[in-house]
Amino acid sequence: MSRELDSIDRAILNRYQGDFPICERPYQAAAEIIGIPESELIRRLERMLEQKQLSRFGPMYHAERLGGGLSLCAMRIPEEQYDQVTEQINAFPEVAHNYARDHAFNMWFVLATETPERIGSVLDEIERHTGFRVYNMPKLQEFFIGLKFEV
């Protein structure tokens, strides 16, 4: 996929994973810095969204400061039940993303809830539905956050 990106796409990606301008014509301001017309910046963002190279273009919220709950959860699921449990878990709207990992703890998902209290009840529901224990591993301390990708 990344082969389809040209140098202008890369410049856009490397410059605007954050710091998008907040003014009346933000695309124009951003495009000027990249050195292209406003309409071209918009077109390229549309294309990268369509091609699913971008997951979205907008705000990344701080869940806890919005009053929500957020946690990383892990489970140990036998291989033969993995697909079925995945389906059950992904059906919860509070599950933000879910990754398989190569370890006895093989299912890892992030829960995002409207209130911190709701985390516990969703975990209970997941345990009841699936019959497997959920290990709740909320963030206790943050040493760094800068999830940006050079392309």
Binding site: Q51, G58, P59, M60, Y61, M137, Q141, F144
Partner: protein, 158 residues
């Protein structure tokens, strides 16, 4: 910053993305009954106060070639946690570094960091090097690569 009802409407309106048109903040304002200037002020205030961590592109790293996505977990003695966390968090290739609770006896690891790379072998070699260079040889760690990805989206707010 105290959020009012208007702010929550704004938060919900833009969570899926900003309109891709030349006056995006005016378009948002029209949808929720605010003027453009007010939308600009409130988004600015939310960024300032950290309610919005970042405004801009959210990439799908997998589609951009970052397919070797490793979660490295460490069982750090409590008295060394801050030292090791700050060391790892300062490294360029590490994109997240969090303390999380141990879940004994099943799960002894209390420090989690993410490394996104393009190839597994390179990520593993990088981890080997940093264990040496940062003096972490006596701290047990495990590398968990991600396999199938089933769901990726941001959190949703009403």
């Amino acid at each position: 910053m105290v959020l009012n009802e208007q702010d929550y409407r704004l938060i919900a309106e833009i969570q899926g993305g900003l309109p891709l048109s030349s006056h995006p903040y005016a378009v948002i304002g029209e949808r929720i009954g605010l003027d453009e200037q007010r939308v600009i002020e409130r988004i600015d205030a939310m960024l300032e106060s950290g309610i919005i961590k970042r405004l801009g592109i959210v990439v799908r790293h997998h589609e951009l070639g970052y397919t070797a996505n490793a979660m490295v977990v460490w069982d750090v003695p409590d008295e060394r946690l801050n030292e090791v966390g700050e060391k790892l968090g300062a490294l360029d290739c590490i994109t997240l570094c969090y303390q999380r609770p141990r879940r004994l006896p099943d799960w002894p690891y209390n420090l989690f960091c993410m490394i996104h790379g393009q190839e597994r072998e390179k990520v593993l070699a990088y981890i080997d090097r940093l264990v040496g260079s940062e003096g972490l040889a006596d701290i047990p760690h495990k590398v968990l690569f991600s396999g199938r990805r089933f769901k990726q989206r941001g959190a949703r707010y009403q």
